[in-house]
């Protein structure tokens, strides 16, 4: 007998996702097309001015919002690349280590501490009278303390730090399933050590790489707290911009249109990847067709 209780069992999940994910998304989407009410909130009439505002150019020819989008993209791409570059050897090492349970535990431990506390811990490390400055002064490397905080590098360091586990974990899971005998086979067939990693390991853990990129890029692209605490107060990332629109100017349509923009840009990455994947498959089939002629 085929059970029909499947929809019943999935009801809690369906309800949860509908209430707390789909409905808010819908609200954001609808609000982005409404007019701004002075003093906060929205007026229920169709209005595209929030979107027009994104592309507005000042008299001097600079784009206020698009520049922020560009800056956010550069920061997010750099942070994601750095995160993957650090996470990859880390995950590889953990996957090959006998102590991988312990090492994974160490990766996860920081989650036991509140996110904001971990960010402020970095202030304590990098600040003018922080551990780093004090140590460098004590060792005589520096004569005067340096301001490590409030610049893009500080933001990148902390973004990489907070997102590393989200890259390490999916990479570890795929590398752990990888047959390391394949690397020996590649060496045997004439590949150098690095070449075997490049042509055999990387293609076979592509799934994990994509997950790691998505898991880090998407949160970083919308990040608010890290640039707010660590960054230069003269530049905004998109997340900060949205927060300020909500908190300080009460410009709901603007905040919502920017949120839709983040969503579209993040989704665009996924679409590009899917198209690229399909094309590779098609090319492959073309090769097969040619060979059969």
């Amino acid at each position: 007998m085929k059970s029909r209780s499947g929809s019943l069992y999935s009801l809690p999940l369906t309800t949860w996702i509908s209430l707390f994910f789909l409905v808010p998304m819908l609200i954001v989407f609808v609000y982005s097309f409404l007019a701004r009410e002075t003093g906060g909130g929205v007026r229920w009439e169709f209005d595209l001015s929030a979107y027009a505002e994104i592309f507005r150019q000042t008299a001097s020819g600079s784009f206020i919002y698009l520049d922020i989008v560009g800056y956010t993209l550069i920061m997010a791409v750099s942070a994601t690349l750095l995160t993957i570059l650090i996470a990859l050897p880390c995950a590889y090492y953990i996957a090959r280590s006998k102590n991988n349970t312990l090492l994974l535990f160490l990766v996860i431990i920081p989650f036991w501490v509140n996110f904001m506390i971990r960010i402020y811990a970095w202030v304590a490390i990098l600040g003018q009278s922080g551990i780093l400055n004090e140590s460098l002064l004590a060792m005589g490397v520096l004569k005067e303390p340096i301001q490590f905080l409030f610049n893009d590098y500080a933001v990148l360091v902390v973004l990489v730090y907070t997102n590393l586990p989200f890259a390490i974990l999916p990479l570890f899971t795929t590398i752990e399933k990888f047959d390391f005998g394949l690397l020996e086979a590649a060496r045997d067939l004439g590949a150098s050590h690095n070449r075997s990693l490049w042509s055999v390991l990387l293609p076979n853990i592509r799934g994990g790489l994509v997950t790691a990129v998505l898991f880090t890029f998407i949160p970083i692209f919308g990040t608010f707290a890290v640039p707010d605490v660590m960054g230069n107060s003269n530049v905004f990332m998109l997340g900060q911009l949205i927060t300020s629109k909500l908190k300080f100017t009460g410009d709901y349509p603007m905040a919502c249109s920017l949120s839709v923009l983040i969503l579209l840009l993040s989704a665009a990455g996924l679409v590009v990847y899917t198209v690229y994947n399909n094309r590779q498959e098609q090319q492959h089939q073309v090769v097969i067709a040619e060979d059969e002629l």
Binding site: D179, G181, L182, E184, A185, A186, R187, D188, L189, G190, A191, S192, H193, R195, S199, V200, P203, N204, V287, I288, D291
Partner: protein, 367 residues
């Protein structure tokens, strides 16, 4: 000759407390089909991995012809390996797998196409070049692995239990194919296996290994007919082993008073003295089993009386377990062709006579 001589000198390998190889020395000739045979954990795979470059010996040296290969990385040795689990690259097609070594060398596309096609023909895989490994059967995967290992034209091909994951019939066919390929390209093959019948059937020479030591090196005939010690005698084929004391000898004819059967006669070209305690072995297929007491046998035949305690019918032959008057169990194999001519079938609990020529018995070693 395209193959290389492989010389291993005093190779020793320890993994922590585990002594995997104990002072192993052997020389494998150019173009030889050489097998390393032994139970799991005997060190045969370790020795192979040392030759391939995946492990370094704790001490000792390895030469390919006159080149000391220990300083060389695996990709710098003119040696290729067929791995036990095939180790095909799952993201590449059959063609791309076989072309992998050529693409590393940056050969021209047309040359790659030509060479890969040649090797696809050699292993009978034409028509499968665009399949991914997961679309292939076990036998096909193994043939891809063989083609991929051969395409670099190595001077030595290492095979690490290449057939162990295949079913018996396919295994036999691939073994014959391997032998044909070896005859065709003439390079040195080093074949690691725990299956004595595989080793016996295709090897020029075999090294029998156990617990990190090489116990005997010889042709399949020598290994089977003149095993160097009890382990080799028992590991290769079946055998009946009896211990006893030498009571007399005339020239190369010895009489041994065995613990289980009493006096038996045996021929040995090695010299033993009266009073030596030795181990005697006789292969089950060399014993004749009859229901009637055989008459008119030459005087150097051993004859014993017993009772069949178990029969195992296996098509081309029957195996009998015979309880003699003094000894618990004796294995006897009888080929069916001649067995049918010999009269009524021998059945369970039948009284039988066993006899064998003293020349077929063998003194394994002093004990």
């Amino acid at each position: 000759m395209k193959g290389s001589e492989v010389r291993v000198e005093n190779a020793d390998k320890k993994f922590g407390d585990f002594h995997a190889l104990k002072n192993v020395s052997l020389t494998i000739g150019k173009g030889e089909f050489f097998s390393l045979l032994g139970p799991s954990g005997c060190g045969k795979t370790t020795l192979l991995r040392i030759i391939a470059g995946f492990e370094d010996p704790s001490s000792g040296s390895v030469f390919l012809d006159t080149t000391d290969v220990l300083p060389l990385a695996p990709n710098e040795r003119h040696v290729n390996t067929v791995f036990q689990n095939y180790a095909l690259f799952p993201h590449l097609t059959v063609f791309e797998n076989i072309a992998f070594p050529l693409r590393l060398k940056k050969l021209l596309k047309a040359d790659i196409q030509e060479k890969v096609t040649h090797y696809l023909q050699l292993v009978h895989l034409v028509g499968h070049e665009n399949k991914k490994p997961n679309q292939l059967s076990g036998g096909q995967k193994q043939r891809v692995a063989i083609a991929r290992a051969l395409i670099n034209e190595p001077s030595v091909l290492l095979l690490d239990e290449p057939l162990s994951a295949l079913d018996a019939k396919l295994r036999h066919q691939l073994l014959v194919d391997l032998d044909l390929i070896h005859d065709k390209i003439g390079i040195t093959f080093i074949y690691v296996t725990h299956d004595q019948s595989e080793a016996l059937s295709v090897s020029d020479r075999i090294a029998v290994m156990n617990e990190g030591r090489v116990l005997q090196i010889g042709t399949p005939f020598e290994i089977y007919e003149a095993p160097a010690d009890t382990f080799v005698a028992k590991f290769i084929g079946e055998t009946n082993v009896m211990d006893g004391v030498i009571t007399a000898h005339v020239d190369n004819r010895y009489t041994i008073d065995t613990d289980s059967l009493g006096p038996i006669m045996v021929t040995s070209d090695r010299y033993f003295e009266v009073g030596h305690r030795v181990r005697h072995a006789i292969r089950p297929e060399k014993i004749d089993i009859t229901k009637e007491k055989p008459l008119g046998l030459p005087e150097d035949f051993n004859i014993f009386h017993g009772k069949v305690s178990e029969t195992v019918y296996s098509g081309f032959q029957s195996q009998f377990y015979v309880e003699t008057d003094e000894s618990p169990q004796f294995k006897v194999y009888q080929q069916h062709e001649s067995y049918l001519e010999r009269g009524p079938a021998i059945r369970w609990t039948d009284e039988v006579y066993l006899n064998w020529d003293a020349d077929d018995g063998y003194i394994v070693e002093l004990i």
